[in-house]
């Protein structure tokens, strides 16, 4: 038994009898029989080919179920089945002297289960992926890259800046009147700025081989826009560094992804802003998203249904804010899918199609590392990264 396999199998039940496989009627008995077959193969002398074959059947079938109907309606049972498929596949891949490539495939499989499946066996996939990551880390070297800071430019209609206001004054001056503000020195204590300063190389070392969703295309309102799955390393290589200078390569953006659920190690580096406690919801209801990409990523002018703290960790972003009171000058799309998005290209508006836009008042800023921008609920915002950037957003109510 390899050292890696002894670590992996220690996380799994010791024998077939203690391995739970219970499903509702939604999962047909033929499918359950294949799952039982995989379980049997896990604890018996099956060949790697056979194990992989059975696991793949489970994955192919449950993948079809996951793509049937709307995502919202997909029965959680099928997402569990998908996760079991990932589990059996990883076990097959990493059992007998896996190559470096097989370990990476195992990590990718865990990620697919984490992204598309549902937690099984106490989130066993999360545990397995961390064991595999450790294995990969042992065989790679790390390099450091130093990043320089850009100078903040003062603007005429600047978003006000305030240093560490009290809860009460934030509530009365900004939250209740729904006024945007940048809170300075509020995220200074984050490990992401101190013990583990975030950089491209740090990200590679913590999450390089992890698979994440990436948006490709200038903005999500474009016809050419699409989403794909890449490892963090691939994303950095293809869209952050080594980019074609003539601009032929499209923009890639790791946007609106709950990265910190997928990679708990990164979650340790951030903190939920204290001011979120002024909301009505639970801490568990706060949605934390990562936004990581090169200079030039654009989020078109849009509004969100919750309060937002946008924390800038690496690099800088140009942000413009419009009040919901001026929505009539912002020409939102008619379709229900894009009703929260303006049709106007903020930094290159078509004045013939959108004549009122120039008359809409706004606030703007360049968000720097350490800044926390409060975007009130339904406040329109447009964001363009000025350089390599990593931000964390907190949606709360």
């Amino acid at each position: 038994m390899t050292a890696l396999w002894s670590k992996l199998s220690a996380v799994l039940p010791p024998n077939e009898e203690e391995f739970p496989l219970q499903f509702s009627d939604k999962v047909e008995s033929s499918v359950v029989s294949v799952l039982q077959q995989s379980r049997r193969q896990l604890y018996s002398d099956a060949t790697s080919t056979d194990r992989t074959l059975t696991a793949q059947i489970i994955l192919d079938l449950s993948w079809e179920k996951l793509n049937t109907g709307t995502w919202r309606d997909v029965d959680k049972e099928w997402r569990c089945v998908y996760s079991y498929g990932c589990l059996f596949k990883v076990a097959a891949l990493c059992r007998e002297h896996p190559s470096a490539d097989e370990i990476l495939q195992g990590i990718r499989t865990c990620d697919m289960g984490l992204l598309m499946g549902a937690a099984i066996m106490d989130n066993v996939l999360q545990v397995l992926v961390q064991i595999l990551q450790e294995e990969v880390r042992k065989s790679t070297k790390e390099e450091k890259i130093n990043k320089k800071r850009k100078i903040n430019k003062l603007t005429k209609y600047a978003v006000p800046r305030i240093k560490c206001p009290s809860l009460e004054s934030f509530k009365s001056d900004y939250l209740l009147p729904l006024r945007p503000v940048i809170l300075e020195a509020t995220a200074d204590h984050w490990p992401a700025f101190n013990e583990h300063p975030w950089s491209v190389e740090y990200l590679r070392s913590v999450a390089g081989c992890r698979t994440v969703p990436v948006e490709v295309g200038s903005r999500y309102t474009d016809e050419e826009w699409s989403q794909t799955l890449l490892t963090v390393n691939e994303f950095i290589d293809q869209y952050v560094l080594n980019r074609v200078s003539d601009g032929a390569k499209a923009v890639g953006y790791l946007a609106q992804h709950q990265l910190f659920d997928q990679i708990p190690e990164l979650k340790e580096d951030i903190r939920i802003p204290d001011y979120c406690c002024l909301g009505d919801g639970d801490e568990d209801d706060i949605t934390v998203n990562a936004w990581f990409g090169p200079g030039g990523t654009v989020s078109p002018l849009h509004q969100d249904p919750q309060q937002n703290f946008l924390v800038q960790v690496v690099g800088s972003k140009y942000i413009r804010l419009y009040s919901p009171e001026d929505t009539d000058k912002l020409y939102p799309h008619q379709s229900s899918l894009l009703h929260n998005t303006s049709q106007v290209e903020v930094e290159n508006p078509d004045t013939e199609r959108f004549p009122e836009f120039a008359r809409a008042p706004y606030l703007e800023c360049v968000l720097q590392p350490g800044d926390v921008l409060f975007i009130p609920v339904q406040h329109w915002h447009y964001i363009r990264s000025l350089e390599l950037s990593f931000s964390v957003s907190f949606w709360w109510s």
Partner: protein, 387 residues
Amino acid sequence: MRWFGFGFNAFGQICVHNELSKDEGRDTVSDVKIMNPTELHRNVDKSVCGRNKCLKTSQIRASWSRRVWLHVDGDSCVCLAGFGGTSVVDSSGCTDTVLSETHLTLAFSDRIESWDLQKKEKTPAWSMEIQPPTDTSGPPLSLPLVPGGYIATKPPFYRSLSPHLKAKSLALGAEHAILLSATGAVYTWGLGSHGQLGHGGLTSEEEPRAVEALWGMPMKHVVTGGWHCACISDGADLYIWGWNESGQLGLPSQSLRKGHKEESSQQAAADCQSASINPGGKPLEGEKDKEVFISIQAFPALLDISPSCEIRTVSCGSRHTAAVTATGDLYTWGWGEYGQLGHKNLISTDEPQCVDFFKEQKLYVVDVVCGPWNTFTAVGEEEVKLS
């Protein structure tokens, strides 16, 4: 008619290789993925219903884990194979069948019965009486159509259809449906998220809606796959639409090409350790020009299966499509990882390919029926071809 099957066989629904190895829980790839078209019911002595009649199989249906076949020859007989073993169903007088993963539906002259395959009960889970049709001039309705409506794959089983539609045939996918009316018009409804309704968008439809792009062009045959539809016009042309992620529409599929690239670069990495591989950055030789890929075809597209030929019949699996030409050839395309394309390999393709096996054996293909992950073809004598 002789029948051949290829593709997914994890439950022995095409053929059972070795009883022993099944019990020990050993699958080998060649047992599970049948790449070469294999004849069904070859061994008459082991014929399930104890009669030679399995040779006269007139209809085959397949679900993910099973196959059902019907032979109507005097006393009709319905046999089942796959998950749960092989068995004969009590079915004298049965004229038509529909098979889903959970239910087997049988049509008789006076009633329809749906049997729950997961429970071994002595009575059908559901049944309904039907009046023999008063108008016997037209051909009998085939399942899932029944007088006044159709039988769905899950409860409520009976769904009514407006007589307005003049339903002539109906095919059901997991979440969408396509209906052919007596006038040759095509209607679709259900989930539209992958363009499978053919109305040009991604919205779903609760009620049957005419596929306007085909208006004025009468169709004679309609089928559904997992997320796509195909139909044959009176002029024997093939129209297809829906999701093309595995090339099941026969149109260039980016996800398919990317998948092939990844596999070949992984293989190359395994072969030459010292060479460094650029992770997907550079295009492969010959792909320098910008090709137009289609992942969703929301309007019907005419598919030219070269060399141009008349299409006699078509059937779709979950993510693959199979068509029979008027000249007795079988073409397949789409997802092939279980051997369901019959090209003696496990490669998916977005270009219709002729299944050489039948040409090589000088067999004349007359019909094709697809299960979700496998394909069944009937071959006949060339003299018997219909005009």
